[in-house]
Structures are given as structure tokens and as C-alpha cells.
């Protein structure tokens, strides 16, 4: 039994070099652009290219596709080193969601075209899965691609495509065989996000992030942009889920905000008494700290399975269930600790910690919804993880 992430010298070297790079290059502005989903500014774009140039962004991928060797441990090191600095790996959708699927299932041409540009930090993708009437029931999607010689012609609408306003490509799931059973008629395409016929409408969210509706009006997509085999799209989407959930969710990200909150309670008085001396505040803090540690233990276990080559199925759903609910409890505790002032937002005179907990509280609302609702995930855990009948 060994919970050490880095066990080889190479891994340790990678971690420390990457850490040093990030300490040097990551600015608050870049972190802000990462976390807001409002679009990458020039700073974040430049940073992505700089990281790409080191070869580290492609760590874990074959060299011929722009990768730099290394293992899944390196990928996890990368994710964690960014997370502990409250940043996100640049072009994360391309790097951890679309890229790996392409690597396993894409044609040689597709891989050669896209993977090196992902590894170089050049391009980002946006997921095009959800439709207004297909949320939890993703397999009911209705947006269609019609075969038309060398290309498909696509019309319809997607929603909650969070990166579409700044991403370069749309990772689009559409129905290609309306007559097949639901899961069997869906294909994945890589579509130029700026192609003629595409309209992107912004959706403002409670948490302040931007997401989008994306409308397709007879958009022509060459057949070379089909990912893998026709009508296998749903399986490609599903097979990557465990890996994605682990790589995208890192509770270590909560540690810096927690430390700031802790420090705030040690230095701020309410009613003549330090917050940290209030037993209610103490209980909230202790519970928050405990739950972060528990989440980390669960993540360690999931990563150990992944590293071991074991399938990461319901374990990833369970991890997301735990982590998302934990983040919501975290925000509730934080607001309880901060009281009325904790409801002040960025820019308000006297807002504790610059209003970050008010912001966090709004943001985490979607955590138990997006990327699989808790209800769907619980059913997955119960049926796939525990063998209960469907």
C-alpha cells in the first residue's frame, strides 16, 4: 500500500520542474482567465503556447503526436500542480477530453492534424453534447448529420457548450442514424467552431461563467472530420468518462481558498472576538478541512486504479458525487463562517477575501448538475457499481 504519487526519479523531476515553471509563469491574471470560462485573453493564450513549447502539455502522449513521453502519473502530476495553484491546465478540454479519445479512436490523419497542435498549446475544443431537450438523457439527442457525398450537413442546436466562444473546434455529437437504437446512431465530429452556418449565443450563468447555445444551420463538415467509426460516438464519449472525471476534478484546488479563509478567521474580529475563537466557526473549519482530506483519499484511490490499468467506472462517478457535494458543503460552511459580510462580492468595500466565497457559493450550484447530475451518477453507482437491477 503506497499513497505516494511520485515514485520514480523522473516523476519527481517532472513535478519539481513543472512546479518551478508554474511558479514563475502563472500570473493571477492567467488564473483568472482560466477559472472564469469567460474566454482566454492574450495572457492565457501566450501561457498555453509557452507551456506547449516545454513539451510538458503533451506529457503522457507519444512523441510522434507532439507528446513528450511520460506516463499517466505525469498527466496527473500536471493536473495537480495546476490545481494546487488554482489554475487549470490550458486547453483542458482538448488535452484531457477530446485528445485522448482521438488518440485511441481517431484516424492517423486526424491524429497527425490535431494532436500536435493540442500538445503545443495552440488549440482548444468545446464539447457539443447537451441539447435543450437532451440533458441527463443524452442518448435522446436529436441534432442530425446528413450524409452528402464527401461531407455531412449538420443542422440543429446544442446548449451548455461552455468554451464555444473561444475554442477553436467543436467536439460535436450528433445523430447519424435515426433508425438505430438510441445509443447506436450517434457519431462524433470535429467541427471548426468558426465555420459558416454556426451561430453562438452567450448564456450568462449564476456563477458568472459564460456558456453558450450553439446553432448549426446546414453546416458542411468533411467526412475526414468524423472521429473514429460512424455511429460509435456514444461509446467514445462514455469510455473516456472515468479518466476525464478524475483529471478534471481535484479537491486540492480548495486548499488555497481554505487557507485564506482560515487566515481570515485568525485575523478578523466579530462582536469583539476573533472569528477563530468562535466555536461554531471552529466546527465549520474542522469539518471543511476533514472533507478536503477525505476527498483527496478518494482521488488517490481512483488514480491508483487508473494507474494500475483497472477500469475506472463507477469509482469515477462516486468521486464526482462526493466531490461536488463536498464543494457545496464547503461553500455553505464558508458562508456560515463569514455571516452577512460573506455575501458581499468582488469590489464591495469590506467584502471578506475579496468576495471569493460569495462567488464560490454561486459557482458550486452547478457542480452537482453539470457533467452528470448526482441523480444519474447515483444510479450508475448503484447499478454498475453495486449490481442493483436497472
Amino acid at each position: 500500500m503506497d499513497f505516494n504519487l511520485t515514485t520514480t526519479d523522473a516523476e519527481q523531476k517532472f513535478r519539481s520542474e513543472l512546479g518551478a515553471f508554474l511558479d514563475r509563469e502563472l500570473t493571477p491574471e492567467i488564473c483568472r482567465q482560466h477559472s472564469m470560462d469567460l474566454g482566454l485573453g492574450p495572457e492565457a493564450r501566450a501561457f498555453a503556447l509557452k507551456l506547449g513549447a516545454t513539451g510538458w502539455l503533451g506529457r503522457g502522449w507519444p512523441k510522434k503526436y507532439g507528446g513528450s513521453g511520460g506516463t499517466v502519473v505525469d498527466e496527473y502530476i500536471m493536473v495537480q500542480e495546476f490545481a494546487r495553484r488554482e489554475a487549470i491546465v490550458p486547453n483542458i478540454v482538448a488535452r484531457f477530453m477530446c485528445g485522448p479519445v482521438m488518440l485511441r479512436n481517431g484516424s492517423e490523419d486526424m491524429k497527425a492534424e490535431f494532436l500536435p497542435r493540442i500538445a503545443s498549446g495552440e488549440i482548444e475544443f468545446s464539447l457539443g453534447y447537451t441539447e435543450p431537450s437532451s440533458g441527463s438523457d443524452l442518448a435522446s439527442m436529436r441534432m442530425k448529420a446528413v450524409d452528402d457525398g464527401d461531407s455531412f450537413v449538420i443542422s440543429g442546436q446544442k446548449i451548455f457548450n461552455t468554451q464555444s466562444h473561444f475554442a477553436d473546434y467543436h467536439w460535436l455529437a450528433v445523430r447519424t442514424n435515426p433508425d438505430a437504437p438510441r445509443h447506436h446512431g450517434i457519431s462524433l465530429f470535429v467541427v471548426d467552431q468558426r465555420a459558416p452556418g454556426i451561430t453562438i449565443r452567450p448564456i450568462e450563468t449564476l456563477g458568472g461563467e459564460r456558456t453558450n447555445e450553439v446553432f448549426y444551420d446546414e453546416v458542411r463538415v468533411p467526412k475526414t472530420r468524423l472521429v473514429g467509426e460512424l455511429n460509435k460516438g456514444f461509446y467514445y464519449m462514455a469510455e473516456a468518462l472515468g479518466y476525464e472525471r478524475l483529471m478534471l476534478f481535484q479537491s486540492v484546488r480548495l486548499i488555497p481558498p481554505f487557507k485564506r479563509l482560515l487566515e481570515y478567521t485568525k485575523t478578523t474580529k466579530r462582536g469583539g472576538r476573533l472569528l477563530a475563537d468562535n466555536p461554531d466557526v471552529q466546527r465549520h473549519l474542522a469539518q471543511m478541512a476533514t472533507e478536503i482530506k477525505v476527498a483527496q483519499a478518494l482521488e488517490d484511490r481512483a488514480f491508483a486504479l487508473l494507474k494500475n490499468g483497472d477500469p475506472l467506472d463507477h469509482e469515477a462517478s462516486l468521486l464526482k458525487l462526493f466531490g461536488s457535494a463536498m464543494r457545496q458543503r464547503f461553500a455553505d460552511h464558508a458562508l456560515d463562517i463569514l455571516g452577512p459580510l460573506g455575501r458581499l462580492e468582488e469590489g464591495a468595500d469590506g467584502a471578506p477575501l475579496g468576495g471569493e466565497m460569495a462567488k464560490l457559493a454561486k459557482t458550486v450550484v452547478v457542480d452537482t448538475i453539470g457533467g452528470g447530475t448526482s441523480e444519474i451518477l447515483k444510479t450508475v453507482v448503484a447499478t454498475r457499481g453495486m449490481g442493483l437491477p436497472r
Binding site: S133, L206, R270, G271, G339, R343, L344, A361, V365, T373
Partner: protein, 381 residues
């Protein structure tokens, strides 16, 4: 035992629901949050004309003379539309203080003006929304020859930016612990030395920071002082906490309606999501929380009107409404799914409203502490 609304209460409910539903829509409410004052004065006057401002003002002061439960009925309706503006701070917060202080010379001037919609008020009490501790008053008033000099900062003052007058509780002199030295002042916001700054909160610009820098107050603006003052204030604060619960219950009642409607209409996996047990049970939990909060709130209102409400009864009401409404909000979002996270939907209005309300007039922790204090010193019956 008869928990039906009185005829008068039903009238209040209907008139408020009809007016508010016809007047507010989601876009307007979002605009208000971001600072728009379009139609604010017109709406304010219409509400006054409908008698809303005078609901809890005694008839002798040109009010409607309603009891506390009548006020709760009206506030529940206002919660349903997440009513913005200085209604609560004027008609509940400030009015409760004025009624509790019971100074006829003051009330005969201010209460009719409140009832007619002529003026709006805010209240400066304790530090950072801490309203239950006399040692935590935000301001000090130093006597000088023709009055007082007010200093201090009122932080997180509901509607402190858009009100005409501010009622301030201040320590007179320098001692900061005695209940006897509390003085209450009523001052116009244009007095020199008072700076008001709106604060960006989760629910927009509905609170403010008021800085008093050597503000000269003439003697007549002291409206109460002495040993009765703090107990009266405290009583008003607890009643106001219960009133805040009525707003929260109204908001949550509307959340439950929105969510149930969605659960009936939204289809996934070939059927309405409301036919799935997980969604049904979320909804049942929401209704359980809503009903329990609602009847706790009205029962406490009735106890208040009967003169039988203890401090604990009122504190427990805020504890439970805070806890129940937080769960309703969370489950509501969960049932709504992604669409409820979009600002164009109604849910974010309620999210912002409830998050502010659960911290207003005492958090759960604040009130549990009060309940515990009373449990340990009084008899639980």
C-alpha cells in the same frame, strides 16, 4: 384552532399577489438588482396606495392597523417576487423599532409618512449585521453643547443607500457595554459628514456602507434613550427576524411551484422527470421543509400577536427557516438542472434572495446560540 387566514388576511394576500404579479417580471427584477431605478418611485407609490406601507402602522397614525400576522401575510407575497427596494427596511425594520420605542411625538410624525409612502428608512444597528449584541453597536454619539456628534461605520446596512432617513442606534458617550447608554437617532441622509456607499452583494446593491464622520445631530433628533431602549430594540430585532422568515417562505413557496411545474413538463428518458422517484422525493423533501417553515413562521407570528412569543420562539423560527430554505434552494436547483443555473431563468433571482435573507437578521448559528442561552437559563415548555 383555526389556521385559515382571516378575511382581512385573504384580502391582503390577494391584493398583494395580483399587484406584484402584474408589476414585476424577471427582467425587471434583474435590472433592479443591477441598480436600475426605472419605475421605482411609481411602484413605491402604488404600493403605498394599496396600503402596503401602512399595514402594520396603527390606525391612529393613519395606518391600516394590522397585526403582526397580517404583516407576515403581506411579506410572504413579497418574497414570492423577491421584491427589491426599501420596503422591508422601512415598513418592517424601522417601523418595528419605532413602534417598540413608542414615542408618540416621533411616531405621530414618522409613521404617517411611512404609511403614505412619503419616506423610506434604513436602520444602523450593530457591526456587520450583528444586531443582537448591545456591545456591538456600530456608532458612538458624543454629546456636545447643542446635540451630539456621531461617529462610526454602519456596515451591511439594508437599503442604506436609497433611503431618505436613517435610524441609528448609538452608544452615547464612550462606554461601549452598558445597555442603558443606547440612544436612538433619526437623521436625514443629507446631513453633512454622512457618506453612503452601495455595496455589491450576492443580491445586487441592496446593502450599503454608511460612514459617519463627525456628523452633528441636534438634540431633537434623539428619539429615545435610557434603560428601556435596548430591550425595546431587541424585541424589534427578533420580530423583524420572524418577518424576514415570511419573505423567505414566500420565495421558497414560489421555488416549489416553479420546480414542480418543471418536473411535470420536462421530459427525459421518455417521461416527465417528475415521475422519477429521485425527483419526487426531492420535491417531497422541499414541501416538507416549506410547510414546516411556513407554519412555524405563522405560529410564531400568532404567538407574537398574543403577546406570548419568547425570544427563543422567534430565534427558533429563524433557525428553522434558514435551514429549511437553504435545503429547498439546493434541491430546487437540483431538480431544475442546467437551465436553473442560467441567469435568464428565475432560479438565480431566488438563489440571490435566499442567500442574503439567510444571513439577514441573524444566521442559524447566531440564533442557535441565542436558543441555547435561553434553554440554559429559562424553562423549556
Amino acid at each position: 384552532m383555526d389556521i385559515e387566514f382571516s378575511e382581512q388576511q385573504s384580502l391582503i394576500q390577494n391584493s398583494a399577489r395580483n399587484y406584484l404579479a402584474a408589476t414585476f417580471n424577471a427582467q425587471m427584477l434583474r435590472d433592479f438588482r443591477l441598480g436600475s431605478q426605472v419605475d421605482a418611485e411609481k411602484i413605491w407609490q402604488e404600493m403605498a396606495d394599496l396600503g402596503f406601507m401602512g399595514i402594520a402602522v396603527p390606525e391612529e397614525y393613519d395606518g391600516f392597523g394590522g397585526n403582526f400576522a397580517d404583516l407576515l401575510v403581506l411579506l410572504e407575497e413579497m418574497g414570492r417576487v423577491t421584491l427589491p427596494g426599501p420596503f422591508f427596511s422601512t415598513v418592517v425594520y424601522a417601523t418595528e423599532v419605532l413602534k417598540a420605542l413608542d414615542k408618540q411625538n416621533i411616531n405621530s410624525v414618522i409613521l404617517p409618512a411611512i404609511a403614505s409612502g412619503a419616506i423610506t428608512l434604513a436602520l444602523v444597528m450593530g457591526d456587520e449585521g450583528n444586531i443582537f449584541d448591545v456591545a456591538g453597536l456600530s456608532l458612538t454619539a458624543q454629546p456636545d453643547k447643542d446635540g451630539y456628534i456621531l461617529n462610526g461605520v454602519g456596515q451591511f446596512i439594508p437599503n442604506g443607500y436609497e433611503s431618505d432617513y436613517v435610524i441609528c442606534a448609538a452608544h452615547i458617550g464612550s462606554a461601549k457595554t452598558q445597555k442603558n447608554d443606547t440612544g436612538i437617532f433619526c437623521i436625514a441622509v443629507d446631513v453633512p459628514g454622512l457618506e453612503r456607499k452601495p455595496l455589491n452583494s450576492m443580491n445586487g446593491l441592496c446593502v450599503a456602507k454608511l460612514t459617519f464622520d463627525n456628523v452633528h445631530i441636534c438634540r431633537d433628533d434623539l428619539i429615545a434613550q435610557g434603560s428601556d431602549t435596548w430591550p425595546a430594540l431587541e424585541q424589534a430585532m427578533f420580530r423583524t427576524a420572524v418577518a424576514k422568515c415570511a419573505e423567505m417562505v414566500g420565495a421558497c413557496a414560489r421555488i416549489v411551484e416553479i420546480v414542480v411545474e418543471h418536473a411535470k413538463e420536462r421530459r427525459q428518458f421518455g417521461k416527465p422527470i417528475g415521475s422519477f422517484q429521485a425527483i419526487q422525493h426531492h420535491c417531497a423533501d422541499m414541501l416538507t421543509d416549506l410547510d414546516s417553515a411556513r407554519w412555524m413562521m405563522y405560529k410564531t407570528g400568532w404567538l407574537i400577536d398574543e403577546g406570548k412569543a419568547s425570544r427563543s420562539d422567534m430565534a427558533m423560527t429563524k433557525v428553522w427557516c434558514n435551514q429549511a430554505c437553504r435545503r429547498i434552494l439546493a434541491k430546487g436547483h437540483q431538480v431544475m438542472g442546467g437551465i436553473g443555473y442560467c441567469e435568464e431563468h428565475d432560479m438565480p433571482l431566488f438563489y440571490r434572495y435566499i442567500r442574503m435573507a439567510e444571513a439577514a437578521m441573524g444566521t442559524s448559528d447566531d440564533h442557535l446560540t441565542i436558543v441555547a442561552e435561553d434553554l440554559l437559563w429559562e424553562t423549556f415548555a
